[in-house]
Amino acid sequence: MDISHKTILLAEDDPNDEELFRQAIAQANINCRVEVARDGEELMRYLFGTADQRRVEPGADIDLVLLDLKMPKLNGLQVLTVMHNAHGAGHEHAPPIVVFTSSDAEQDVSTAYDLGAVSYVAKPVTHGRFVETVQQLVIYWLGVNRRAPRRRQRGASWASTTS
């Protein structure tokens, strides 16, 4: 599958888990780009740009965010809260956020969905299942799923029709 023009932003503080992720997609010949944010603050800089180059659209060049809930500085739920608040303020085209985390707590699952995560996946415990799950996630979200087309920024009526 050629998805070489697509970019995943992987929010992952553990370099070993990043390496496992890269091996998993390489094994399935998935050739998308992978950017890595090591903590919540770095992730926010990727999505919103730095202070001197604010982005009009958060994460415009990112096609999928894989979000670990347990991260230093800003945790995953805090990042989701910021993204959620940015939504509806001209930021409708933010990338889909898939929570990919070791937490299986019901509270985390429901909070994540309330804050706009499109999917919640618990990291499998064994290596074999981890590899399968990563491959399925990436193939579905970057290869199969189609995102909503971009709306024009002007004319609030465009956005309000969806509610």
Partner: protein, 149 residues
Amino acid sequence: MRNRAIGRPAEILLIEDNLGDARLTREALADGRIPHRLSMLFDGQEASEFLHRQGVFARAPRPDLILLDLSLPKMDGRELLAVIRANPDLAAIPVIVLTASEAHEDYLRAESLSVDAYLTKPVAADRLLAVVRQMKRDWLEHLLQPVGG
């Protein structure tokens, strides 16, 4: 001279498919102050290829120590152990079997597997060091010099 490793780092091979356990073992090794290089594999088949330097593992290092979980996909740990012991080039490598509990360890001891030691998971740095010291292999003599203060 502080913080200077003596000799080369130990080559350690960890074969474990539970990612959480693998992480804890890796951290115990890091805490244990044994200068080492760690290779991690997740199933018995790959481990066998690594040890025999086949395919992508053509330039794999020969491990000084193997940490082995017995329940592995593709090739079971017991089968891998038999492969290791049957090969004259590999037979002398010390193998520590990682077990899920002390009860599991007792159960395994009854099988009289040809292993050097057992370690209950999660692996703790001090237990790992104690077990490695007990084995008193030649390669350990210089590797177990303390690093730094």
